[in-house]
Protein backbone atom coordinates (compact mmCIF):
# COMPACT_ATOMS: atom_id res chain seq x y z
CA UNK A 1 0.00 0.00 0.00
CA UNK A 2 1.23 3.44 -0.88
CA UNK A 3 2.64 5.22 2.15
CA UNK A 4 2.50 8.95 1.52
CA UNK A 5 5.48 10.98 2.71
CA UNK A 6 4.30 13.98 4.69
CA UNK A 7 6.50 16.90 5.73
CA UNK A 8 5.07 18.76 8.73
CA UNK A 9 6.39 22.19 9.72
CA UNK A 10 5.50 22.39 13.39
CA UNK A 11 5.49 25.62 15.36
CA UNK A 12 7.48 25.12 18.56
CA UNK A 13 4.78 26.78 20.65
CA UNK A 14 1.92 24.58 19.50
CA UNK A 15 2.75 21.99 16.85
CA UNK A 16 5.74 20.43 18.57
CA UNK A 17 4.07 19.99 21.98
CA UNK A 18 1.02 18.60 20.23
CA UNK A 19 3.17 16.14 18.27
CA UNK A 20 5.01 15.05 21.41
CA UNK A 21 1.72 14.64 23.25
CA UNK A 22 0.39 12.59 20.37
CA UNK A 23 3.45 10.38 20.54
CA UNK A 24 3.20 10.02 24.31
CA UNK A 25 -0.47 9.08 24.00
CA UNK A 26 0.49 6.58 21.29
CA UNK A 27 -2.06 7.87 18.87
CA UNK A 28 -1.80 7.48 15.14
CA UNK A 29 -2.38 5.17 12.27
CA UNK A 30 0.41 2.93 13.56
CA UNK A 31 -2.00 1.46 16.05
CA UNK A 32 -4.21 0.06 13.34
CA UNK A 33 -3.01 -2.50 10.83
CA UNK A 34 -1.64 0.19 8.52
CA UNK A 35 2.13 0.29 8.04
CA UNK A 36 4.07 2.89 10.00
CA UNK A 37 3.72 6.54 9.18
CA UNK A 38 6.19 8.38 6.99
CA UNK A 39 6.03 11.74 8.73
CA UNK A 40 8.96 14.16 8.67
CA UNK A 41 8.58 16.76 11.41
CA UNK A 42 10.47 20.04 11.04
CA UNK A 43 10.35 22.27 14.13
CA UNK A 44 10.27 26.03 13.53
CA UNK A 45 10.13 28.71 16.22
CA UNK A 46 7.00 30.11 14.59
CA UNK A 47 4.96 29.02 11.61
CA UNK A 48 5.80 32.43 10.15
CA UNK A 49 9.30 31.10 9.56
CA UNK A 50 8.00 28.98 6.72
CA UNK A 51 8.16 30.62 3.30
CA UNK A 52 6.28 29.73 0.13
CA UNK A 53 9.48 28.41 -1.42
CA UNK A 54 9.95 25.94 1.45
CA UNK A 55 6.54 24.44 0.83
CA UNK A 56 7.26 24.05 -2.85
CA UNK A 57 10.77 22.73 -2.30
CA UNK A 58 9.41 20.02 -0.03
CA UNK A 59 7.02 18.92 -2.76
CA UNK A 60 9.75 19.13 -5.38
CA UNK A 61 12.04 16.93 -3.33
CA UNK A 62 9.63 14.10 -2.86
CA UNK A 63 7.00 14.92 -0.28
CA UNK A 64 3.51 13.82 -1.15
CA UNK A 65 1.94 16.32 1.21
CA UNK A 66 3.05 19.28 3.33
CA UNK A 67 1.37 20.36 6.55
CA UNK A 68 1.90 23.47 8.64
CA UNK A 69 0.91 23.30 12.31
CA UNK A 70 0.51 26.78 13.75
CA UNK A 71 -1.03 28.44 16.78
CA UNK A 72 -4.60 29.68 16.68
CA UNK A 73 -5.01 33.10 15.13
CA UNK A 74 -4.62 35.79 17.79
CA UNK A 75 -2.39 33.43 19.79
CA UNK A 76 0.83 33.85 17.85
CA UNK A 77 3.74 34.73 20.12
CA UNK A 78 5.40 36.56 17.26
CA UNK A 79 2.04 38.28 16.74
CA UNK A 80 1.18 37.47 13.13
CA UNK A 81 3.45 34.62 12.10
CA UNK A 82 0.58 32.17 11.81
CA UNK A 83 -1.34 34.56 9.60
CA UNK A 84 1.68 35.04 7.35
CA UNK A 85 2.08 31.29 7.11
CA UNK A 86 -1.53 30.94 6.08
CA UNK A 87 -1.28 33.54 3.32
CA UNK A 88 1.93 31.96 2.02
CA UNK A 89 0.25 28.58 1.98
CA UNK A 90 -2.72 29.95 0.07
CA UNK A 91 -0.37 31.53 -2.45
CA UNK A 92 1.46 28.23 -2.85
CA UNK A 93 -1.89 26.56 -3.51
CA UNK A 94 -2.58 28.96 -6.39
CA UNK A 95 0.84 28.07 -7.81
CA UNK A 96 0.06 24.38 -7.53
CA UNK A 97 -3.16 24.96 -9.40
CA UNK A 98 -1.29 26.60 -12.24
CA UNK A 99 1.08 23.69 -12.69
CA UNK A 100 -1.64 21.08 -12.36
CA UNK A 101 -0.81 19.65 -8.93
CA UNK A 102 -3.59 18.92 -6.46
CA UNK A 103 -4.10 21.81 -4.01
CA UNK A 104 -5.00 19.38 -1.24
CA UNK A 105 -1.36 18.40 -0.87
CA UNK A 106 -0.81 21.59 1.16
CA UNK A 107 -2.69 22.30 4.36
CA UNK A 108 -2.43 24.47 7.45
CA UNK A 109 -3.89 23.46 10.77
CA UNK A 110 -4.31 25.78 13.79
CA UNK A 111 -3.95 24.12 17.14
CA UNK A 112 -2.70 24.66 20.66
CA UNK A 113 -0.15 23.11 23.01
CA UNK A 114 -2.62 20.56 24.31
CA UNK A 115 -3.95 19.35 20.97
CA UNK A 116 -2.33 15.91 20.77
CA UNK A 117 -5.53 14.34 19.56
CA UNK A 118 -6.15 17.00 16.92
CA UNK A 119 -2.59 16.57 15.66
CA UNK A 120 -2.97 12.86 15.11
CA UNK A 121 -6.45 13.26 13.60
CA UNK A 122 -5.22 15.79 11.04
CA UNK A 123 -2.26 13.61 10.09
CA UNK A 124 -4.44 10.51 9.80
CA UNK A 125 -6.94 12.29 7.57
CA UNK A 126 -4.19 13.70 5.41
CA UNK A 127 -2.68 10.23 4.96
CA UNK A 128 -6.06 8.88 3.81
CA UNK A 129 -6.57 11.81 1.47
CA UNK A 130 -3.09 11.48 -0.02
CA UNK A 131 -3.58 7.75 -0.51
CA UNK A 132 -6.55 8.56 -2.70
CA UNK A 133 -4.66 11.29 -4.57
CA UNK A 134 -1.71 9.03 -5.16
CA UNK A 135 2.02 9.74 -5.12
CA UNK A 136 3.46 13.09 -6.07
CA UNK A 137 4.21 12.72 -9.80
CA UNK A 138 6.25 15.90 -9.94
CA UNK A 139 8.96 14.57 -7.66
CA UNK A 140 9.52 11.66 -10.02
CA UNK A 141 9.73 14.15 -12.88
CA UNK A 142 12.47 16.16 -11.18
CA UNK A 143 14.50 13.05 -10.53
CA UNK A 144 14.07 12.17 -14.22
CA UNK A 145 15.26 15.64 -15.19
CA UNK A 146 18.26 15.28 -12.93
CA UNK A 147 19.27 12.12 -14.73
CA UNK A 148 19.65 13.74 -18.15
Amino acid sequence: MFNPKIVAFCCEQSGIPAAEMSRAMQLGPALKSAPSLNLDIRPVPCAGRVETVHLLTALEQGADGVLIFACHEENCQYRRGNIRAKSRLLYAKTLLERIGMEKERLEICNLATNSGVKFSEVVTEKVEQLRKLGPNKFSQLSSEVGKE
Binding site: C10, E20, S22, N38, D40, P43, A112, T113
Partner: protein, 449 residues
Protein backbone atom coordinates in the same frame (compact mmCIF):
# COMPACT_ATOMS: atom_id res chain seq x y z
CA UNK B 1 3.61 6.29 15.53
CA UNK B 2 4.99 9.74 14.93
CA UNK B 3 8.60 9.42 13.89
CA UNK B 4 11.18 12.07 13.37
CA UNK B 5 14.19 11.61 11.08
CA UNK B 6 15.79 9.19 13.49
CA UNK B 7 15.29 8.05 17.04
CA UNK B 8 16.07 11.55 18.17
CA UNK B 9 13.17 13.25 19.98
CA UNK B 10 11.12 15.44 17.69
CA UNK B 11 12.32 18.82 18.85
CA UNK B 12 15.98 17.79 18.70
CA UNK B 13 16.09 17.42 14.92
CA UNK B 14 19.43 18.50 13.50
CA UNK B 15 21.04 19.83 16.69
CA UNK B 16 24.71 19.76 17.69
CA UNK B 17 25.92 22.37 15.25
CA UNK B 18 27.69 24.27 18.04
CA UNK B 19 28.16 23.32 21.67
CA UNK B 20 28.75 25.32 24.82
CA UNK B 21 29.86 24.15 28.24
CA UNK B 22 27.47 24.53 31.17
CA UNK B 23 28.43 24.91 34.83
CA UNK B 24 26.14 23.40 37.41
CA UNK B 25 25.57 26.76 38.98
CA UNK B 26 22.28 28.64 39.31
CA UNK B 27 21.50 32.09 40.68
CA UNK B 28 18.16 32.49 42.43
CA UNK B 29 16.81 35.98 42.98
CA UNK B 30 14.55 35.98 46.00
CA UNK B 31 14.54 33.89 49.16
CA UNK B 32 10.80 33.42 49.58
CA UNK B 33 8.75 30.25 49.29
CA UNK B 34 9.22 30.04 45.52
CA UNK B 35 12.96 30.73 45.49
CA UNK B 36 13.61 28.38 48.39
CA UNK B 37 11.60 25.58 46.77
CA UNK B 38 13.62 25.85 43.57
CA UNK B 39 16.85 26.08 45.55
CA UNK B 40 16.06 22.94 47.53
CA UNK B 41 15.22 20.87 44.45
CA UNK B 42 18.34 22.04 42.64
CA UNK B 43 20.70 21.61 45.57
CA UNK B 44 19.39 18.11 46.20
CA UNK B 45 20.05 17.46 42.51
CA UNK B 46 23.72 18.30 43.01
CA UNK B 47 23.65 21.78 41.53
CA UNK B 48 25.28 24.73 43.27
CA UNK B 49 22.80 27.47 44.10
CA UNK B 50 23.31 31.09 45.10
CA UNK B 51 20.29 32.71 46.74
CA UNK B 52 20.18 36.50 46.68
CA UNK B 53 17.61 37.89 49.12
CA UNK B 54 16.90 41.57 49.53
CA UNK B 55 15.66 41.26 53.13
CA UNK B 56 17.63 40.18 56.16
CA UNK B 57 16.31 36.62 56.43
CA UNK B 58 14.93 33.85 54.25
CA UNK B 59 11.28 32.84 54.11
CA UNK B 60 9.48 35.81 52.60
CA UNK B 61 5.79 36.31 53.19
CA UNK B 62 4.96 32.69 53.81
CA UNK B 63 6.96 32.64 57.01
CA UNK B 64 5.25 35.65 58.57
CA UNK B 65 1.67 36.01 57.51
CA UNK B 66 -0.76 33.17 57.40
CA UNK B 67 -1.20 32.48 53.73
CA UNK B 68 -3.35 29.72 52.38
CA UNK B 69 -4.31 26.04 51.97
CA UNK B 70 -3.00 23.81 54.80
CA UNK B 71 -1.33 26.75 56.45
CA UNK B 72 0.36 25.07 59.34
CA UNK B 73 1.86 22.37 57.16
CA UNK B 74 3.23 24.82 54.62
CA UNK B 75 4.71 27.04 57.30
CA UNK B 76 6.51 24.09 58.89
CA UNK B 77 7.72 22.92 55.51
CA UNK B 78 9.35 26.29 54.98
CA UNK B 79 11.22 26.01 58.26
CA UNK B 80 12.63 22.60 57.31
CA UNK B 81 13.58 23.74 53.82
CA UNK B 82 15.37 26.83 55.14
CA UNK B 83 17.24 24.82 57.75
CA UNK B 84 18.37 22.26 55.17
CA UNK B 85 19.52 24.96 52.76
CA UNK B 86 21.50 26.78 55.41
CA UNK B 87 23.40 23.59 56.20
CA UNK B 88 23.88 22.38 52.64
CA UNK B 89 27.31 22.64 51.12
CA UNK B 90 25.79 23.32 47.72
CA UNK B 91 24.13 26.57 48.71
CA UNK B 92 25.45 30.11 49.07
CA UNK B 93 23.07 32.54 50.74
CA UNK B 94 23.44 36.29 50.35
CA UNK B 95 20.98 38.32 52.39
CA UNK B 96 20.51 42.11 52.27
CA UNK B 97 21.72 41.97 48.70
CA UNK B 98 20.26 42.71 45.30
CA UNK B 99 21.09 42.24 41.65
CA UNK B 100 22.33 45.46 40.07
CA UNK B 101 23.66 44.33 36.71
CA UNK B 102 23.55 41.36 34.38
CA UNK B 103 25.70 40.71 31.33
CA UNK B 104 26.09 37.65 29.19
CA UNK B 105 23.68 34.95 28.16
CA UNK B 106 22.53 31.44 28.98
CA UNK B 107 25.56 29.45 30.08
CA UNK B 108 27.72 32.51 30.59
CA UNK B 109 25.87 35.04 32.71
CA UNK B 110 27.87 37.60 34.70
CA UNK B 111 25.72 38.92 37.51
CA UNK B 112 26.72 41.77 39.77
CA UNK B 113 25.16 41.62 43.20
CA UNK B 114 25.47 44.53 45.61
CA UNK B 115 25.21 43.98 49.36
CA UNK B 116 23.85 46.56 51.79
CA UNK B 117 27.35 47.36 53.00
CA UNK B 118 28.24 48.54 49.48
CA UNK B 119 30.36 45.51 48.52
CA UNK B 120 29.70 44.00 45.11
CA UNK B 121 30.07 40.35 44.27
CA UNK B 122 30.25 38.91 40.79
CA UNK B 123 28.48 35.62 40.22
CA UNK B 124 28.74 33.60 37.01
CA UNK B 125 25.81 31.19 36.88
CA UNK B 126 24.66 29.20 33.89
CA UNK B 127 21.03 29.89 34.69
CA UNK B 128 19.06 32.52 36.59
CA UNK B 129 15.73 32.11 38.37
CA UNK B 130 13.65 35.18 39.22
CA UNK B 131 11.53 34.51 42.31
CA UNK B 132 11.17 37.96 43.77
CA UNK B 133 7.55 37.77 44.88
CA UNK B 134 4.98 40.54 45.04
CA UNK B 135 3.70 43.28 47.28
CA UNK B 136 0.33 43.99 48.83
CA UNK B 137 -1.77 47.05 49.43
CA UNK B 138 -4.60 47.53 51.88
CA UNK B 139 -7.57 49.39 50.51
CA UNK B 140 -10.74 49.86 52.51
CA UNK B 141 -12.70 50.63 49.34
CA UNK B 142 -14.77 53.26 51.12
CA UNK B 143 -16.31 50.82 53.57
CA UNK B 144 -17.10 52.43 56.94
CA UNK B 145 -15.50 50.91 60.04
CA UNK B 146 -17.45 49.40 62.89
CA UNK B 147 -16.04 49.26 66.40
CA UNK B 148 -14.31 46.05 65.46
CA UNK B 149 -12.94 47.77 62.39
CA UNK B 150 -11.96 46.32 59.08
CA UNK B 151 -9.69 43.32 59.10
CA UNK B 152 -7.66 41.80 56.28
CA UNK B 153 -7.42 38.10 55.44
CA UNK B 154 -3.93 37.44 56.88
CA UNK B 155 -4.89 38.97 60.24
CA UNK B 156 -8.17 37.12 60.38
CA UNK B 157 -6.29 33.91 59.76
CA UNK B 158 -3.90 34.75 62.56
CA UNK B 159 -6.74 35.69 64.91
CA UNK B 160 -8.50 32.40 64.25
CA UNK B 161 -5.30 30.42 64.84
CA UNK B 162 -4.47 32.24 68.06
CA UNK B 163 -7.93 32.17 69.68
CA UNK B 164 -8.49 29.12 71.83
CA UNK B 165 -11.87 29.93 73.41
CA UNK B 166 -15.31 29.43 71.94
CA UNK B 167 -15.94 33.03 71.04
CA UNK B 168 -14.00 35.33 68.77
CA UNK B 169 -13.12 38.85 69.85
CA UNK B 170 -11.60 41.67 67.86
CA UNK B 171 -10.72 45.02 69.45
CA UNK B 172 -12.77 43.91 72.42
CA UNK B 173 -15.86 43.29 70.30
CA UNK B 174 -17.46 39.87 70.15
CA UNK B 175 -17.78 38.77 66.54
CA UNK B 176 -21.09 37.03 66.00
CA UNK B 177 -21.48 37.88 62.31
CA UNK B 178 -18.55 38.10 59.91
CA UNK B 179 -18.66 39.10 56.25
CA UNK B 180 -16.00 38.38 53.66
CA UNK B 181 -15.99 40.73 50.68
CA UNK B 182 -14.21 39.37 47.61
CA UNK B 183 -13.51 40.39 44.03
CA UNK B 184 -13.59 44.14 44.35
CA UNK B 185 -9.83 43.75 43.88
CA UNK B 186 -7.65 40.86 42.64
CA UNK B 187 -10.21 39.69 40.16
CA UNK B 188 -8.02 37.04 38.62
CA UNK B 189 -6.24 35.74 41.70
CA UNK B 190 -7.39 32.49 43.26
CA UNK B 191 -5.84 32.28 46.66
CA UNK B 192 -8.25 34.74 48.26
CA UNK B 193 -10.96 32.13 47.74
CA UNK B 194 -8.88 29.43 49.45
CA UNK B 195 -8.31 31.61 52.50
CA UNK B 196 -11.91 32.76 52.67
CA UNK B 197 -13.37 29.25 52.49
CA UNK B 198 -11.03 27.86 55.12
CA UNK B 199 -11.53 30.78 57.47
CA UNK B 200 -15.31 30.74 56.96
CA UNK B 201 -15.50 27.08 57.92
CA UNK B 202 -13.38 27.70 61.03
CA UNK B 203 -15.54 30.65 62.05
CA UNK B 204 -18.74 28.60 61.85
CA UNK B 205 -17.43 25.41 63.39
CA UNK B 206 -15.23 26.77 66.16
CA UNK B 207 -16.80 30.11 67.04
CA UNK B 208 -20.43 29.68 65.90
CA UNK B 209 -20.37 32.89 63.89
CA UNK B 210 -22.81 33.71 61.14
CA UNK B 211 -20.67 33.99 58.05
CA UNK B 212 -21.52 35.76 54.80
CA UNK B 213 -19.34 35.67 51.70
CA UNK B 214 -19.97 38.31 49.06
CA UNK B 215 -18.23 37.62 45.78
CA UNK B 216 -18.48 38.16 42.07
CA UNK B 217 -17.42 34.67 41.09
CA UNK B 218 -16.07 32.19 43.57
CA UNK B 219 -12.85 30.80 42.15
CA UNK B 220 -12.66 27.17 43.15
CA UNK B 221 -10.39 25.93 40.38
CA UNK B 222 -7.71 24.63 42.72
CA UNK B 223 -7.17 21.17 44.21
CA UNK B 224 -10.04 20.40 46.54
CA UNK B 225 -11.73 23.72 45.81
CA UNK B 226 -15.16 22.38 45.00
CA UNK B 227 -15.13 20.10 48.04
CA UNK B 228 -14.10 23.00 50.25
CA UNK B 229 -16.95 25.11 48.91
CA UNK B 230 -19.43 22.29 49.53
CA UNK B 231 -18.12 21.89 53.07
CA UNK B 232 -18.59 25.63 53.65
CA UNK B 233 -22.12 25.52 52.29
CA UNK B 234 -22.99 22.51 54.42
CA UNK B 235 -21.58 24.22 57.46
CA UNK B 236 -24.00 27.05 56.89
CA UNK B 237 -21.86 29.74 55.30
CA UNK B 238 -24.04 31.94 53.11
CA UNK B 239 -22.75 33.06 49.71
CA UNK B 240 -24.01 36.11 47.85
CA UNK B 241 -23.06 37.15 44.36
CA UNK B 242 -22.81 40.78 43.35
CA UNK B 243 -22.49 42.51 40.01
CA UNK B 244 -22.43 46.06 41.27
CA UNK B 245 -20.73 46.80 44.59
CA UNK B 246 -23.12 46.46 47.55
CA UNK B 247 -24.11 49.39 49.67
CA UNK B 248 -22.29 49.62 53.00
CA UNK B 249 -23.38 51.79 55.90
CA UNK B 250 -23.33 51.74 59.66
CA UNK B 251 -26.47 51.02 61.63
CA UNK B 252 -26.59 50.64 65.40
CA UNK B 253 -22.86 50.15 65.53
CA UNK B 254 -22.94 47.23 63.12
CA UNK B 255 -22.15 47.20 59.40
CA UNK B 256 -25.25 46.99 57.25
CA UNK B 257 -24.75 45.58 53.76
CA UNK B 258 -27.46 45.85 51.12
CA UNK B 259 -27.42 44.04 47.82
CA UNK B 260 -29.92 42.54 45.41
CA UNK B 261 -30.63 38.85 45.86
CA UNK B 262 -29.06 37.42 42.70
CA UNK B 263 -30.76 34.04 43.07
CA UNK B 264 -33.69 35.45 41.13
CA UNK B 265 -33.24 35.25 37.38
CA UNK B 266 -35.19 38.38 36.46
CA UNK B 267 -33.78 41.68 37.68
CA UNK B 268 -37.29 42.90 38.48
CA UNK B 269 -37.90 40.05 40.91
CA UNK B 270 -34.66 40.58 42.77
CA UNK B 271 -35.44 41.85 46.22
CA UNK B 272 -32.89 43.73 48.19
CA UNK B 273 -31.47 41.89 51.16
CA UNK B 274 -29.65 43.44 54.06
CA UNK B 275 -26.97 41.72 56.08
CA UNK B 276 -25.85 42.88 59.50
CA UNK B 277 -22.23 42.19 60.29
CA UNK B 278 -19.85 42.92 63.16
CA UNK B 279 -16.80 43.09 60.97
CA UNK B 280 -15.85 42.88 57.33
CA UNK B 281 -12.85 40.91 56.13
CA UNK B 282 -11.12 42.15 53.00
CA UNK B 283 -8.38 40.65 50.86
CA UNK B 284 -5.13 42.54 50.44
CA UNK B 285 -4.69 43.90 46.93
CA UNK B 286 -1.88 42.07 45.13
CA UNK B 287 0.55 44.11 43.09
CA UNK B 288 3.85 43.44 41.35
CA UNK B 289 6.90 44.05 43.54
CA UNK B 290 8.10 47.62 43.93
CA UNK B 291 11.33 47.09 42.01
CA UNK B 292 10.00 44.86 39.28
CA UNK B 293 10.51 47.43 36.51
CA UNK B 294 14.16 47.67 37.44
CA UNK B 295 14.53 43.90 37.62
CA UNK B 296 12.90 43.41 34.22
CA UNK B 297 15.25 45.90 32.63
CA UNK B 298 18.34 44.35 34.28
CA UNK B 299 17.29 40.86 33.19
CA UNK B 300 16.15 42.19 29.80
CA UNK B 301 12.87 40.33 29.88
CA UNK B 302 9.49 41.93 29.27
CA UNK B 303 6.74 42.70 31.75
CA UNK B 304 3.41 41.14 31.00
CA UNK B 305 -0.20 41.58 31.95
CA UNK B 306 -0.71 43.40 35.21
CA UNK B 307 2.94 44.47 35.35
CA UNK B 308 4.31 41.10 36.48
CA UNK B 309 7.27 39.38 34.79
CA UNK B 310 6.06 37.84 31.56
CA UNK B 311 6.21 34.12 31.02
CA UNK B 312 7.11 32.82 27.60
CA UNK B 313 3.99 30.80 27.01
CA UNK B 314 1.32 30.50 29.72
CA UNK B 315 0.03 27.19 28.35
CA UNK B 316 3.36 25.53 28.14
CA UNK B 317 6.05 25.58 30.83
CA UNK B 318 4.96 28.94 32.13
CA UNK B 319 8.14 29.15 34.19
CA UNK B 320 10.19 30.08 31.12
CA UNK B 321 10.81 33.72 30.26
CA UNK B 322 11.50 35.14 26.81
CA UNK B 323 15.22 34.48 27.36
CA UNK B 324 16.69 31.01 27.38
CA UNK B 325 18.34 30.40 30.74
CA UNK B 326 16.19 32.83 32.71
CA UNK B 327 13.19 31.43 34.56
CA UNK B 328 10.37 33.20 36.38
CA UNK B 329 8.62 31.40 39.22
CA UNK B 330 6.09 32.26 41.87
CA UNK B 331 4.37 35.51 42.60
CA UNK B 332 6.68 37.68 40.52
CA UNK B 333 5.10 35.94 37.55
CA UNK B 334 1.65 35.78 39.14
CA UNK B 335 0.48 35.54 42.77
CA UNK B 336 -0.97 32.13 43.43
CA UNK B 337 -1.69 29.48 46.02
CA UNK B 338 1.42 28.00 47.63
CA UNK B 339 0.73 24.51 46.28
CA UNK B 340 0.80 25.85 42.73
CA UNK B 341 3.94 27.82 43.48
CA UNK B 342 5.54 24.63 44.75
CA UNK B 343 4.59 22.81 41.56
CA UNK B 344 5.98 25.61 39.40
CA UNK B 345 9.17 25.60 41.40
CA UNK B 346 9.54 21.85 40.89
CA UNK B 347 8.87 22.25 37.16
CA UNK B 348 11.55 24.89 36.90
CA UNK B 349 14.00 22.77 38.88
CA UNK B 350 13.32 19.74 36.68
CA UNK B 351 13.95 21.66 33.51
CA UNK B 352 17.08 23.29 34.90
CA UNK B 353 18.49 19.97 36.11
CA UNK B 354 17.88 18.31 32.76
CA UNK B 355 19.57 21.24 30.98
CA UNK B 356 22.60 21.39 33.27
CA UNK B 357 23.33 17.76 34.06
CA UNK B 358 24.80 16.82 30.65
CA UNK B 359 27.39 19.57 31.13
CA UNK B 360 27.01 20.88 27.60
CA UNK B 361 24.31 22.49 25.51
CA UNK B 362 23.96 21.97 21.76
CA UNK B 363 22.95 25.25 20.18
CA UNK B 364 20.64 25.34 17.21
CA UNK B 365 19.64 23.68 14.99
CA UNK B 366 19.11 27.13 13.59
CA UNK B 367 20.81 30.23 14.93
CA UNK B 368 21.75 33.64 13.55
CA UNK B 369 25.25 34.98 13.06
CA UNK B 370 26.28 38.57 12.40
CA UNK B 371 28.97 39.26 9.83
CA UNK B 372 30.91 41.66 12.00
CA UNK B 373 32.67 43.23 9.03
CA UNK B 374 29.37 44.59 7.76
CA UNK B 375 27.80 45.68 11.03
CA UNK B 376 27.05 49.42 11.07
CA UNK B 377 26.09 49.45 14.77
CA UNK B 378 22.64 50.75 13.94
CA UNK B 379 21.30 48.95 17.08
CA UNK B 380 18.30 47.62 15.17
CA UNK B 381 18.89 43.97 15.96
CA UNK B 382 19.47 44.19 19.76
CA UNK B 383 16.24 46.15 20.02
CA UNK B 384 14.25 43.76 17.86
CA UNK B 385 15.43 40.43 19.18
CA UNK B 386 12.46 38.95 21.07
CA UNK B 387 14.83 36.79 23.11
CA UNK B 388 17.45 39.42 24.00
CA UNK B 389 20.11 37.25 22.40
CA UNK B 390 22.02 40.06 20.67
CA UNK B 391 24.53 42.36 22.34
CA UNK B 392 27.13 44.82 21.07
CA UNK B 393 30.60 43.51 21.77
CA UNK B 394 34.15 44.27 20.79
CA UNK B 395 35.12 41.29 18.71
CA UNK B 396 35.34 42.34 15.08
CA UNK B 397 38.74 42.30 13.47
CA UNK B 398 37.62 44.42 10.54
CA UNK B 399 34.70 46.65 9.88
CA UNK B 400 33.97 48.30 6.56
CA UNK B 401 32.54 51.32 8.37
CA UNK B 402 35.61 51.95 10.49
CA UNK B 403 36.97 55.36 9.71
CA UNK B 404 40.58 55.05 8.58
CA UNK B 405 43.31 56.53 10.76
CA UNK B 406 40.85 57.31 13.54
CA UNK B 407 42.94 56.03 16.45
CA UNK B 408 43.64 52.39 15.83
CA UNK B 409 42.04 49.81 18.10
CA UNK B 410 42.71 46.13 17.78
CA UNK B 411 39.06 45.07 17.92
CA UNK B 412 35.90 46.80 16.71
CA UNK B 413 32.43 46.85 18.19
CA UNK B 414 29.76 44.91 16.36
CA UNK B 415 26.48 43.21 17.12
CA UNK B 416 26.90 39.61 18.22
CA UNK B 417 24.29 36.91 18.48
CA UNK B 418 24.92 34.41 21.25
CA UNK B 419 24.16 31.04 19.64
CA UNK B 420 23.09 29.51 22.94
CA UNK B 421 20.50 32.22 23.45
CA UNK B 422 19.26 32.38 19.87
CA UNK B 423 15.92 30.79 19.01
CA UNK B 424 16.45 30.91 15.25
CA UNK B 425 13.35 32.99 14.61
CA UNK B 426 15.03 35.03 11.88
CA UNK B 427 13.67 38.44 12.88
CA UNK B 428 17.15 40.02 12.99
CA UNK B 429 18.07 38.46 9.65
CA UNK B 430 15.02 39.99 8.03
CA UNK B 431 15.43 43.42 9.59
CA UNK B 432 19.17 44.11 9.38
CA UNK B 433 19.46 47.05 6.97
CA UNK B 434 22.92 45.96 5.88
CA UNK B 435 21.87 42.34 5.38
CA UNK B 436 24.75 41.48 7.66
CA UNK B 437 23.09 38.58 9.49
CA UNK B 438 22.75 35.04 8.24
CA UNK B 439 20.87 32.10 9.64
CA UNK B 440 22.95 28.96 10.17
CA UNK B 441 21.35 25.59 9.98
CA UNK B 442 18.60 26.63 7.62
CA UNK B 443 19.54 23.74 5.38
CA UNK B 444 18.86 21.23 8.14
CA UNK B 445 15.35 22.53 8.44
CA UNK B 446 14.48 23.09 4.82
CA UNK B 447 16.32 20.27 3.09
CA UNK B 448 14.10 17.38 2.16
CA UNK B 449 16.44 15.00 0.34
Amino acid sequence: MIQSNSDVPISEVGRASKTILLKQDVLILGGGFSGLSVAESLARGGIHVTIVEQGNRLGGRASTGRLCGDRARKANQLGTITAWLEKSGNVTILTQAELVDLQGHFGSFRAKVRKNDGQTVEITPAIIVAATGYQTLRETQGIPETAAGIIYLPEMGKLIDETSGEKLFLEGQHLSAVTFFLDAVNDDIKFDAVNVLEQAIDLVERFTCRVFVICRDLKVSFDGGERLYRKAREAGVLFFKHDVPPDFHLENGRLSISLPDATFVNDEDQQEITLASDVIVLPETCLPGAKIDKLASILRIPLGKGGYLMEDNPQFLRIRSARRGIYVTGACRFPQDLSETRREAEAAAQEIISLLLPGTYDCGPVFAEVDAKKCALCYTCPRLCPHSAITIEKYAEHNIYRILNSGDESMQNAARVEPAACYGCGVCVAECPAKAITLHGESTLFNFN
